[in-house]
């Protein structure tokens, strides 16, 4: 039982850190703010949540486990809100999408 938990924790660690790395590479390579936000706020949140779940699986006492899971829930609740607020603020101020973007649903209707 203990060995299975260790194996699962190792697997979750690897997957979570890989997600974080992918998010960082997306932050580096994607062309504009909105696509970068798509990488950072989804894959980044997923990565740190998986690592926290690995800690919860690996921990032996209930206190650490519940705190790690509370951290996961809290992080899942706050990350979309903050990135949505930032995207809304940036769009309303007028930071443009990259020219290769195919669709802008919030564009003013009269221009079209």
């Amino acid at each position: 039982m203990n060995e299975i938990a260790t194996l699962i924790a190792a697997l979750l660690l690897l997957i979570g850190s890989a997600f974080t790395l992918v998010a960082a590479i997306g932050l580096l390579r994607l062309p504009d703010l909105y696509t970068r936000m798509h990488a950072a706020s989804k894959a980044g949140t997923m990565g740190s949540c998986l690592v926290l779940i690995a800690l919860a699986v690996h921990a032996h006492d209930l206190g650490t486990m519940s705190r790690a899971l509370a951290g996961v829930v809290f992080f899942l609740l706050t990350a979309p809100v903050s990135s949505h607020l930032l995207a809304k603020a940036a769009y309303s101020v007028g930071y443009r999408l990259h020219p290769t973007s195919v669709r802008d649903e919030m564009a003013p209707k009269d221009k079209k």
Binding site: E3, T6, L7, A9, A10, L11, L13, L14, G16, S17, A18, T20, L21, A23, A24, I25, L27, L28, P31, L33, R36, M37, A40, S41, G44, T45, G47, S48, V51, L52, A54, L55, H58, A59, T64, R67, A68, A70, G71, F74, F75, T78, A79, V81, S82, S83, L85, L86, K88, A89, A90, S92, V93, G94, Y95, R96, P99
Partner: protein, 145 residues
């Protein structure tokens, strides 16, 4: 056959290395980030990576007191991002942002022209000739700034 403990240690080391790498990449984006929202997004990402670090350290050393710190760090990062978003909204767009966007568009156009001329040169010498001088002139442009 590798023992389970060795495998676990290897996983922890790999996780720490990739978290370090993503930390450095995010710092590069914060330093370079053409506009303010890019930097704020980078800070948000840094908070996420720091939480991941705390969890990995907690697994590696068994010192799980820092998980409380991770929760508090998540709260601080959330509030900071919300406050920065309000700040972006109230500040509006500055000249620096417009300049950065224009520079970014120029870089993209230059890269596109270079790719087009390379494709033209590959398809044959005839169409390659007139397209070749354009990227060379464009490449000289950043030196003037």
């Amino acid at each position: 056959m590798i023992s389970l403990a060795t495998l676990f240690d290897l996983a922890v080391t790999v996780a720490l290395c990739s978290l370090c790498l993503s930390f450095l990449i995010t710092i590069y984006r914060i330093v370079k980030g053409p506009t303010l929202p890019d930097r704020i997004l980078g800070l948000d990402m840094l908070v996420a990576i720091a939480i991941g670090f705390i969890a990995v350290i907690g697994i590696k050393t068994g010192y799980t007191l820092y998980v409380d710190v991770a929760i508090a760090l998540g709260l601080v990062g959330f509030l900071a991002t919300v406050a920065f978003a309000r700040f972006v909204m109230s500040r509006g767009k500055t000249e620096d942002d417009i300049l950065a966007e224009v520079r970014q568009a120029a870089t993209d156009a230059r890269r596109e022209a270079r790719a087009a001329s390379k494709a033209a040169a590959r398809s044959g010498e005839g169409p390659g000739r007139p397209a070749a001088p354009a990227p060379a002139a464009a490449r000289k442009e950043p030196g003037h700034e």
